[in-house]
Every structure is written in structure tokens, then in C-alpha cells.
């Protein structure tokens, strides 16, 4: 028996909106759950004072610094490398076996569990290169971890720039680099920024790769050669070792708010940029 298309349509709307609502509900539940437990602990004093007694008491200031320093270093390294690679792959090479292998490689790299990157970073940066547990080792490891994401999203953003823009630019006597700089990058920027934001998000929330490479020292780092602990790692240790559930959730709440702020800034930047251009 054929079901009338109108009822199929109702069914489709119900399933699709149901899925959307469920996603939203899960998100709201997690955020509310963490904030409800964490907000009572969270205060300016909590953010800006040093932890006492392994984090049982006191604040999380060193981990705040670690959470800023590691992703910042990772992004500073991975963004130029990633954008450069994607420009090279899309604009300077023709599609052939080599580019396909590179693309396949980056896709695989993007799917590797972060702990593998952690292990690699531990062996290569910490041990072989003798950087020890440090912000530098951790930042480099995180950079490698987020590099594939940045490459692939930038590549898609660059490919989305209409071919006619390139034609026009070349026909007006532009070199390839002038075309990249003046037409392609400005138009691909929102998409590239999305990739960078994904990278920041991943590196802020990373634990496994960070414990292996940046260590988990609670002291305030004074240089990139010092070991540090990020908020995510702090949360993991506080909760895992049963040191302090309250402070664990306080840290988690701070982490969620930090990610939220980063994303809001990115959206704001993107809209500002798009508005400026049209």
C-alpha cells in the first residue's frame, strides 16, 4: 500500500526535527549539568589563585596559563603550515597521484587517536630531541594533531572560491601568488578560520596527548621549556584520582566557558569580516 506523500512528509519532518531536538537536548543537558556543579566553585579568585595540596584547595591559575599557552603555540605553528600546505595542494599542483596520496594521508592522520600523537610526541620531542615535558613539546605535538584538520578545511574553503575569480585575476596580469594573496585567501578566510577554530577547540580539550608531552606539573610555567598542566588534564587528574570533585567541576565549568568564548569570538570575527567585505 502506498502511503500518501503528505504523511511521508509529516514523518520526515517529525524524524528530522526530533533528531535536531535530541542533539540540542544532549548539549544543553551536558552544559547545564557541568555548570550546575561547577559554577558554585567558579569565581575570579578560583581562576587567579594557585592550587594548594594537589588541587584539593586553592585555584587553577597555572592550568589556566597552560590552557592558553599550549593551544596558542599549537595554532601558531599549525596555522601557517596548514594554510601553506593547502594553498600548495590546491593552487600550485595539478591533481595527480602524488596529491591524492598526500590528501589520503592527511585524511588518515586526522583520524588517528590523539593518544598515538601523544606517544609519538613523547618519543620524538620529549625523549629524542630532549625537549622534556614542556609547553614546547606539547605545543608541537598538538600542532601535528590539528594540522590535518586545518589542511583539509582550508583546502575545501580554497576550492570553494569560484574558478572565474582566478581566471579574472590571471587575465589581469596577476601571478599565481598575487592571485592567492589578493583574491583567494580573502575569500577563503571564513572557511579557513573555521578549521583553525576546530583546531583550537580540539587542542583546548585534549588530555591524552598533553599528559604525555607537556606533563602535568602544577607549578606556574615561566618559559616554553617548563612543564605545565592544562585545565582538561587538571580535571582528569582531580576526578580520576578522587582528589576533589568540587574543584574538578569548577575546572570543567571554566573549560566550557573558555571554549564558548573562543567560539563566540570566532563567529563575531567571521561576521565582522564578511560584513566588511560586502
Amino acid at each position: 500500500m502506498r502511503i500518501h506523500p503528505r504523511y511521508v512528509q509529516y514523518g520526515a519532518v517529525a524524524i528530522l526535527s526530533g533528531g535536531t531536538l535530541l542533539t540540542l537536548a544532549v548539549l544543553v543537558f551536558i552544559v547545564v549539568f557541568v555548570l550546575e556543579k561547577g559554577l558554585p566553585v567558579l569565581s575570579l579568585d578560583f581562576l587567579l589563585s594557585s592550587p594548594q595540596d594537589m588541587g584539593r584547595a586553592g585555584g587553577i591559575f597555572p592550568t589556566l596559563i597552560g590552557t592558553i599557552a599550549l593551544p596558542l603555540l599549537a595554532i601558531l605553528i599549525a596555522t601557517p603550515l596548514g594554510i601553506g600546505t593547502s594553498i600548495y595542494l590546491t593552487e600550485y599542483t595539478r591533481e595527480n597521484r602524488v596529491t591524492r596520496v598526500i590528501r589520503f594521508g592527511t585524511d588518515c592522520l586526522a583520524g588517528i587517536p590523539s593518544i598515538i600523537f601523544g606517544l609519538f610526541g613523547f618519543i620524538f620531542f620529549v625523549t629524542i630531541l630532549g625537549m622534556g615535558w614542556s609547553i614546547l613539546s606539547g605545543g608541537l605535538t598538538l600542532a601535528f594533531m590539528i594540522l590535518p584538520t586545518i589542511i583539509r578545511t582550508s583546502e575545501e574553503a580554497i576550492k570553494a572560491v569560484p574558478k572565474s575569480y582566478r581566471d579574472v585575476s590571471f587575465s589581469l596580469g596577476a601571478t599565481r601568488w598575487q592571485t592567492v594573496k589578493r583574491v583567494i585567501l580573502p575569500n577563503a578566510l571564513p572557511g579557513i578560520l573555521t578549521g583553525v577554530m576546530l583546531g583550537i577547540g580540539r587542542s583546548i580539550g585534549e588530555t591524552a596527548a598533553v599528559i604525555f608531552t607537556a606533563g602535568s606539573s602544577l607549578r606556574l610555567p615561566t618559559s616554553i621549556f617548563d612543564s605545565t598542566r592544562t585545565m582538561a588534564v587538571h580535571f582528569y587528574i582531580l576526578a580520576r584520582e578522587g582528589i576533589s570533585n568540587e574543584n574538578a567541576y569548577g575546572t570543567a565549568a571554566a573549560l566550557i566557558i573558555a571554549v564558548l568564548l573562543v567560539n563566540l569570538t570566532a563567529y563575531w570575527l567571521m561576521h565582522w569580516f564578511i560584513a566588511k567585505r560586502s
Binding site: 575569480y165 587575465s171 567585505r277
Partner: protein, 251 residues
């Protein structure tokens, strides 16, 4: 009249598939050469040979000679980027770059290294006037080129080419998406411009070729069937196929 381009036995193929076969012709300086012919007759490819844009496509190969002012533009020491500065091109669809009207016009000159503001302002006004667009946009040079109507966008594209002060302007069906009034404005501009420039105009509109070109060439399946003064081509073509095409019997 002197020849701006002297094309000798030109053949072009993509991935081994011939698109243009053994074409020889001369393009007179300071005139409009109209190229007519049905779809896939090699008109656009021919145009893109003249500024070496065809090189950007994968698998293209060119044989024969293309002399511009007596020099072969396909010699290895000729820089295609420099060549394109003197051979401008307007595409079928108007493509303003997503930037302001002013920035669109000065795109070429700034690439070439001109940075003096006064000079750029002067170039903008001059080019927009020559493209018959100045009066419509002079108060809003800083708005995006994308905000203009289709006809205005195409004239902006023309102005953008003029700002480079090229010797040659190639137009690839520049009016195919435009209304009759916009088309008339472009045609007026071209008629005016041919005094200073050599113009090659590919068009699907045979009447347009009849209206504004000095000479007309008829392409079919990658071959040059006939070329001659426009009057003669449209009143007394030598070839039957030309006659069939311009009277609308095929194509």
C-alpha cells in the same frame, strides 16, 4: 592598416583532441574583429590563445605561430603574466571581484606596482568614463562591485581591463547575459574604444558582429571558414556555409 596579430597555421588541442585546426589570419590594429560561429567552433579557445589563458587549462597544446607586433608570444622567453597585462580580456559572464568598484578597477594597475593614489584615482575615472559607467557609479566607488546590475558589472569588467591600458581587448561574448540597453552601451563603448585599441570580439549574436565589427571571421568546427570586411561577409559571403550560418539556417 597594420596587423596587430599575425596568426600562422595555429592548431590547438586539449588532451590530444583538436579544437582549432590550422587557422591563419591577421587581426588589424585599431579595429574590431568579430568572430562568429556556432557553439564549440573554437572561438573562445582562439581568444584564449591570444593572451595565453589556455595554458592554465590542463592538457592544452598549441602549435603554429602567434605574432603580436611581429613577435611570437609563444616563445619560451615571453612571460605570460606580462603578456596578459597588454592583452586584456572580458569574459562572457560579468565577474566583479568581491571588492569595491574602485578596487576592481585598479586591480590590474596595483598588481603592476602602481601605488600612487592620485594616479589610481585618475585611472579609475578615466577607465569608468571610457566604459560608459562613470556617471552611474561616481558617487559610490567604495561600494562592492557585486551590488551593481548585470549590465553595470560587465561595464565594470571592461573598465577594469581598460585601467591596465592594454593594447588589445579580447571580449568573449560580453553581452550574452545582458539586456538590449546594456548591450547598446557596451557596443557604444567598443565603437569608441577601437580608435585606441585592437579589439577581438567573440559573439553568438551575428547581428552584433554586423553592427560593430570592421572585419568578421566565421569559425566552424575549429576551422576558419571565411574572413573578410564585415560588409562583404554579410552581403556577399564567398562560402555557402557562411551564408547558411548568417541567415540562420543552422547553428
Amino acid at each position: 592598416m597594420t596587423a596587430k596579430f599575425d596568426i600562422r597555421d595555429l592548431s590547438v588541442s586539449f588532451h590530444g583532441k583538436p579544437v582549432i585546426r590550422h587557422i591563419s589570419l591577421q587581426v588589424a590594429a585599431n579595429g574590431i574583429l568579430g568572430i562568429i560561429g556556432p557553439a564549440s567552433s573554437g572561438k573562445t579557445t582562439f581568444l584564449r590563445v591570444l593572451n595565453r589563458m589556455n595554458e592554465l587549462e590542463q592538457g592544452s597544446s598549441v602549435t603554429g605561430q602567434v605574432l603580436m607586433d611581429g613577435n611570437d608570444i609563444y616563445r619560451s622567453e615571453v612571460d605570460a603574466v606580462a603578456l596578459r597585462k597588454s592583452v586584456g580580456m572580458v569574459f562572457a559572464l560579468p565577474v566583479p571581484l568581491p571588492m569595491s568598484i574602485h578596487d576592481n578597477v585598479v586591480y590590474g594597475p596595483t598588481l603592476a606596482g602602481i601605488s600612487d593614489r592620485g594616479r589610481l584615482t585618475e585611472l579609475t575615472e578615466k577607465s569608468l568614463k571610457a566604459a560608459f559607467l562613470w556617471e552611474e557609479v561616481k558617487d559610490r566607488l567604495n561600494t562592492s562591485g557585486l551590488r551593481l546590475s548585470g549590465g553595470q558589472q560587465q561595464r565594470l569588467c571592461l573598465a577594469r581591463v581598460l585601467a591596465m591600458e592594454p593594447g588589445v581587448i579580447l571580449l568573449d561574448e560580453p553581452c550574452s547575459g545582458l539586456d538590449p540597453i546594456s548591450t547598446a552601451k557596451i557596443e557604444d563603448a567598443l565603437t569608441e574604444l577601437k580608435r585606441q585599441y585592437t579589439i577581438v570580439l567573440v559573439t553568438n549574436n551575428t547581428k552584433q558582429a554586423a553592427r560593430i565589427s570592421d572585419e568578421t571571421a566565421f569559425f566552424l568546427m575549429g576551422e576558419l571558414i571565411e574572413m573578410g570586411p564585415t560588409n562583404q561577409m554579410f552581403t556577399a559571403p564567398r562560402q555557402k556555409r557562411t551564408n547558411d550560418y548568417i541567415t540562420g539556417r543552422f547553428g
